[in-house]
Every structure is written in C-alpha cells, then in structure tokens.
Symmetry: C2
Subunit: 207 residues, 2 copies
C-alpha cells in the first residue's frame, strides 16, 4: 500500500523556505517515478495471458528501468549535496586576495558539480523515455495508461533538469565545459520532445 | 533535510506488480510537487531585499498553493481507493440475474468515482499552473527555476490525470456524464498547454 505519510513529509520538505530539496531533487524524483511506472507496466504484464511472446522483452525493459530508477533516486541526494556545496562555497571568506582566489575556485568547482548532476539526470530521463516506448508498445493493455504517465513524468523531469543546468552555466568560467553541457542538453531536448509526444499519442490511441 | 528512505519506499510501491499505486496516484503526486515548488518560491521570496512590493502577493499565492497541495496529496489515497473499488466491483459474483444487475450497477458507480478523482486532479493542476505564473513572474530570481519545474510538474500531472479519465470513460454507460467529463478535460488541456509553455519560456528567459 501507498505510504501516504512519507509522501506528505517529502512534499512538506519541498514546499518549505529551505531551497533544498528544490527543483533539482523534484526533477530526479519525477524521472524516478517515470522509471517506476515503466517497471510497473512490465511487472504487471508478466504472466498475463496473451502476452507470453513479450515476456523476455518485458523482463529486459523492467530490469533496465529498475537500474535507471536506482540512479535517479540516488540523484535526489546528490542534487541536494551539490546545491548545498555551492551555497557553502559562496559563504567562504573573501577578505585577503588568497581567500578570494580560494573562494572563486571553490565556486567554480561547485558550479560544475551542480551542472553535472542535472545533466546526468537529463541523460537518464532520455533513457527512461526510450524504455517507456517499449513498455507502452507491448505492455498489458489494462495498465497502458501508466506507461503514458511514465513518459510524461520522464519528459517533465528531463526539461526540469535542463532548467537546473541552464541556471548554472552562465556563471561558469570554463566556457568549453559550459557550452558542451548546453549543447548536449539541446540535443537531448530536441530528440526527446517529439519522441515523448509520440509515446503519449500511442498510449492515448490505445485507451 | 530530504527523507530519502520515504521517497525510495514510495517509488518501490509504484514500481511493484500491484497496479496501485499507479499512474493516477503518480499524477496527484506530480501535481502536489508542482504546488509545493510554487509554495517554496513564495516562501523563499518573503523577506528578500528588493521584493518588499510583492510580499502580499507571494503570501496569497503561497497560501493558495498550500491549499491545492493538501487537496492533491489527499487525492493520492482517493485514487487508490477508487481503483481498488472498481477492481472489487469487477470481482462481484455474476451468476444469477440479480447478481449480474448488482455487479453491473456497482461497476458503473465505481467507474464514475474512478473518473471523478482524476478529473478533479486535472482541475486542481490547472489552478497550480495559474499560480506558477504568478510565482514565476514576481518571485525571487535565484529560485525562479523552481517555478519552472513547478509548472512542468503540474502540466505533466494534468495530462497524466487526463489519461486516467480517458481510460474509464469508454466503459461508462451514462454517456452524458462521460461526455461532459471529456469535454471539461479537453477545455483544461487546450487552455493549459500553451499557458504552461508560456510560463516555462518566461522562466527560461530569466536564467
């Protein structure tokens, strides 16, 4: 059964005046929800009459979705740590020149980390979207709407992660790194937007 | 701090072979995450230098977001109950004519409930989207990406709720009810799609 209290507690943390957990954690959780729903479609399909032919495919998709879910779940804490690290760097002393240089370097290092976590989240969400197509194409018809919810969650997560990359890249002094991150993100967004809509339409037409 | 274990436990429930919690609960949670992020933007904005003029607006938006978050959080359990009720109706005996009639009536009543919960979720998500615009237009710039994540979560939630209405309406014998539900949903989707994109673009351009 659903753990109502635990969800309420997390949502309370999200709503609070503390900036963590924030949008970065929310992105990772939405991605993990997408992966979990893909898993569920696969799990429910196994053993259903008329679906014997897709059993090995559903096992493979389900196992992959579980691997991605674990990665995305771990990113919730990683995002909080990256954000808190960045805030700590900004609070470093900036009196003497040496302190200033140390602080600037710490900020740049923290900014890279705070960029890499959501970039990785975006990559993994793109993989979840690819899995949602396989689950939605061949999964048990009675739970196929869950595949549709899965792709919506994963795509919203990808775009949310993108915002968390974009908020950090302008302040990065390593422009090569910043532009490579933005370019990779643009490719992921350009590919996954139409693909997510296609999976949603595929599901919608089965209902 | 974030309650990592509670989130992991919920995601495990979602991924499992049991169809509840499923996409309907995930929709309500995504909507609640959207409302929570709107709240957070308002909460962080309060007391910030240069934002004195929007304080009463942020208080009003934040209070409204908290009201919607509570409604959406309650819908997680309501969706599970509606789905389980429908499954129970399908399992009723169908031997004698009287049993058949009783079962058919119970199924229709459960289908209505399983339609009304996600329809209400969609309505509330539309309200969250409207609030996300106000928070993103006037909230503290450093957390504005969280307003963008909020609108993405609320819009994905609305479209997810829509799938959970569409999966039930074809089996409804009360066609007037079914068509009114579908028509209301179509209006919400048509209005909220462009509005969500507009808020996302507004946020994106502030980063």
């Amino acid at each position: 059964m659903i753990t109502q209290n635990s969800v309420e507690r997390f949502l309370g943390d999200l709503a609070g005046a503390n900036p963590t957990p924030g949008g970065g954690s929310a992105a990772a959780i939405m991605g993990a929800m997408g992966a979990a729903l893909v898993s569920m479609v696969c799990n429910v399909t196994l053993g259903k009459k008329g679906y014997e032919g897709v059993e090995s495919e559903m096992r493979a998709v389900g196992a992959e979705a579980e691997r991605l879910r674990a990665r995305l779940t771990a990113m919730v804490a990683e995002d909080v740590a990256a954000f808190d690290g960045l805030m700590a760097a900004y609070r470093l002393p900036k009196g003497a020149d040496e302190e200033k240089a140390h602080r600037a370097a710490a900020i740049q290092q923290s900014l890279k980390r705070a960029t890499l976590v959501p970039l990785d989240c975006a990559r993994v969400c793109a993989e979840v979207i690819a899995l949602s197509r396989r689950a939605s194409e061949r999964g048990y018809l009675n739970v196929i709407s869950d595949g549709g919810v899965g792709v919506l969650a994963a795509h919203a997560a990808l775009r949310s992660a993108a915002l968390n990359v974009y908020i950090n890249t302008p302040a990065l002094k390593d422009r090569e790194f910043a532009e490579a991150a933005a370019a990779e993100l643009d490719r992921l967004l350009a590919a996954c937007g139409p693909e997510s809509e296609a999976v949603y339409t595929l599901v919608r037409n089965k209902l």
